[in-house]
Amino acid sequence: MTLPSRSGSRGFTLAVTLFALVLIEALLAGAFFSARQALRLGTNVRDSQRALGAAEAGLSQTLAGWRSSAYGALAPGGVASFSGALAGGTGSYAGTVLRLGRSLFLVQSTGADAAGASRRSVAWLVRPTPVALPAGAALSVTDRLELGSGVSVDGTDRASGADCPPAGSAMAGVAVTPTTEVLLPGCGDSACIRGNPPLAVASAAEDSGASAAVAAAWATLVAAAAKVYEPEDLFFERPQPVGTAMACDTAVRGNWGGAAVPGCARYFPVVFARGNLRLIGGSGQGALLVTGDLSVDGGFSFDGLVIVGGRLVVEGSGARFGGTVRARTATLSASTAGSAELVFSRCAVANALIPNAAPNPLAERAWSELY
């Protein structure tokens, strides 16, 4: 019997080599683990900061590019969305504008870093800040006032319009300056004027201050004008709201908003006429600015702010204005078939100004980090 030779299985080099390799790899893995842990933590912090920056950029850019027509038309509880990307592709944001109340919005922005690894969400409580106008009256006239028959001017505050707060104190029916020529042939003993007081005469200083405020408001509102009428199309016959129960067709130039069409109840455009404007019938709401003369007839109705650089003439079957009207000269009268009625309404003026105002964060506790 012959035993086999085992000369090829001597030594332990292979085992030692394997052991050394495993050991070295374990050491390397441990070192890499520590380094990776540190890197991951640092990266998380960096991504989180970038996401916060993107979220805040979303807030800032939304306020800077405030879409008055879209956000102002939201009913309380209504939501509009926005999104964008940061320059250089370092992050992106998306969010919503939620209307909380008559003049309060919650702007929520969620930012993400470029890889989408981290998200942060912040919010601002904002409210539109309307241009400042003098407290005013139902009708303010600087040069000449003539009230004929069928006229009624009332400074009692009316809470007429969408989401109006309770009516406030009564204002003057008519406000004039010391140099205003006042003629009341059809308004026996000022009986057609009511208010507190019915006829207020502003001092020169008050008139100067009011004029400056109106000029500033004029510039702001003209810049926000949604409907502009040039001199060649100054004869505009009959504006009226156009839309459905749910939507307002704001692209129609003759659509000046109005509650007669539910979808247009919150549409308050700034209408700007460069020159003279003549209206026969129809209705609208918002702000109506006319550089020249405004002639109205046919029962035209308007809620909001009206500023006429020249003459305001109401005649024939008359008109109704709810809010406040300012003109250099006013000649109002109506036939027995109609009336020329001007009633003061803070709410109607605010309704006209709020949707066209720039938003500002609340003075206190406007900013929040949501998560």
């Binding site: 019997m1 050491l27 933590l41 309380p76 309060l104 919010a123 409580l125 800040t129 206190e364």
Partner: protein, 288 residues
């Protein structure tokens, strides 16, 4: 008869071979032990370094998140010190979804419009409710500060949806005129300060006010240096040091971490000593 063939290569090891193996093996094992020892020392030291850096990151994540939302003018910054700050830290933002009842002090907050780090805790939280007054002017806006005595889920919102009823106490008569859609914030009183535990280690500590008493300090981030481990500097809108809490518009936080034990990493400047690192963060108060 059995024939045994000679197998010279498998006939065992000689004494010389054995000695060589022992010497070489011993040298190898010694080297391995040395490497393992160095490696263990490295890990221990590296974990100290990571602890310090993690602690600093935690400080700069936590404190700015708490401070950023303060309205110092509105009284959210209660007290300020070199190494401590006392504040009203926001815990949630919600929207009231039904007109509050001034008689009972109940306000319902919409669940779908509640954002925050945690649920309302009546034992710790208070409420701030925005009272707009005349919605057409910002001049009369103010936040009503009310205690929360209870919270219960399952309430109904006007127009549908579920909400949480918050039972408020204090000047609840002022809730009259607060409409649905008004924002409501909750906050709790907290103090952040540098403190040293029984082991002699220093930390960023936090304590909160609840149930009529302050809780004890508990560590939330660190370890930090015992002296100068956490310093706050307060500045006004002009960049000058703020004299009063209500003037603060920016807060500078400096955190200095210190490892619990000495580190031993060849090449590190701090080798043989405790590892130190620091971080500086500037926080602009968003509501000032």
């Amino acid at each position: 008869m059995v024939s045994v063939s000679a197998s010279r290569g498998a006939s065992g090891v000689t004494l010389v071979e054995l000695l060589v193996v022992l010497v070489v093996g011993g040298a190898v094992l010694g080297a391995v032990a040395g490497v393992l020892h160095d490696n263990q020392r490295f890990y221990r030291s590296e974990s100290q370094v990571l602890d310090v850096e993690d602690g600093l990151r935690a400080v700069v994540q936590l404190l700015p998140a708490e401070l950023r939302e303060l309205d110092a003018r509105g009284g959210d910054l209660v007290a300020m010190g070199r190494d401590s700050v006392s504040l009203r830290a926001t815990r949630s933002l919600g929207v009231i979804c039904a007109r509050p009842d001034p008689a009972t002090g109940v306000a319902v907050v919409a669940d779908s419009l509640t954002f925050g780090w945690r649920a309302v805790d009546p034992s710790r939280d208070r409420a701030l409710v925005l009272r707009e007054g005349d919605p057409d002017t910002p001049d009369d806006d103010r936040w009503l500060d009310l205690a929360i005595t209870g919270a219960s889920a399952g309430a109904a919102c006007d127009g549908g949806g579920r909400g949480t009823s918050l039972h408020l106490s204090g000047a609840t008569a002022d809730l009259d005129g607060v409409p649905a859609g008004s924002p409501l914030r909750t906050y709790e009183r907290v103090v952040y300060r540098l403190y040293t535990d029984e082991q002699g280690l220093s930390w960023l500590g936090e304590r909160g006010y609840g149930g009529g008493a302050w809780s004890s300090l508990s560590p939330v981030a660190g370890p930090l240096r015992r002296v100068g481990g956490l310093t706050f500097s307060f500045y006004d809108t002009a960049g000058a040091p703020a004299a009063r809490p209500g003037d603060v518009a920016r807060i500078c936080i400096v955190a200095r971490g210190l490892s619990a034990a000495a580190i031993d990493i060849p090449g590190r400047t701090a080798s043989g000593r405790q590892y130190e690192d620091s971080i500086v963060v500037q926080v602009a108060l968003r509501n000032n």
